[in-house]
């Protein structure tokens, strides 16, 4: 996904609420996209949400996280954490 300024590091966390699966996409905030205004960062989250919905047809929640907080993997990156108890 080509959203300018968004770090390539992301993680998807899947949880289950009743019979519904919820997807949270965690994205690291780089200096290029960081703003001192709350509304700019909220707008970025909404834009990512819309792009994912347009591209994949999936509704998800976007969580902006601090840089380097998503675990780096030396090999295959662990992109999805499935916390559902099925």
């Amino acid at each position: 996904m080509g959203v300018e300024g968004v770090e390539p590091h992301y993680q998807i966390v899947v949880t289950r609420d009743g019979s519904l699966d919820n997807i949270e996409v965690q994205v690291e905030v780089s200096e290029q996209i960081f703003s001192d205004e709350v509304k700019s960062l909220e707008k970025l989250g909404k834009r990512l949400q819309t792009e994912i919905k347009d591209l994949l047809g999936i509704s998800c929640r976007i969580k902006l996280v601090e840089p380097k907080t998503i675990q780096r993997s030396e090999g295959k990156a662990k992109r999805v954490i499935d916390n559902r108890k099925i």
Binding site: F34, D36, V38, K39, L41, K63, L64, E66, P67
Partner: protein
């Protein structure tokens, strides 16, 4: 007429604010003014400090996302109605306040209002035309 401020991205996690204060303390950086904006997931800490560039550098090294932005500092007397006079100027000029914070410089004497507007240049002109005292970057950092 603009004052440099640092802004730091914070996740809503216990201890992150203390990590920032510890980094600044360890580098002998003094905080002049502070404001924390919070949402459900994250916060933005805005600081006016004694050494802006040094603060940015040490916080970056500590792993934080840091930006330097400019705000306007208006000096007001520390008495009832002082904020209202300034906000009447803002309102009459039709300016949009993105955010603001304030603190007392010396109790009973002066206070300082820090503003971020959507149109900073127009705000400077409106304040100057109304006779409001705008503080320079040097004046604020030398407090």
């Amino acid at each position: 007429m603009k004052v440099k401020q640092i802004a730091i991205f914070l996740e809503n996690k216990s201890g992150r604010l203390a990590d920032i204060s510890h980094t600044l303390a360890a580098n002998a950086i003094n905080i002049r003014a502070l404001s924390l904006a919070d949402t459900a997931d994250f916060g933005i800490l805005r600081l006016v400090v004694s050494e802006t560039e040094k603060a940015q550098q040490v916080l970056k090294s500590a792993g934080f996302t840091v930006g330097i932005t400019e705000v306007l500092a208006v000096e007001v007397p520390d008495k009832p109605g002082a904020l209202d006079l300034v906000l009447q100027v803002v309102s009459k000029a039709g300016l949009n306040v993105e955010y603001m914070y304030a603190f007392t410089r010396k109790s009973g004497e002066t206070g300082m209002l820090l503003f971020r507007f959507d149109d900073q240049e127009r705000a400077i002109k409106a304040f100057q035309d109304a006779g409001c005292k705008l503080l320079s970057d040097e004046e604020v950092h030398a407090l």
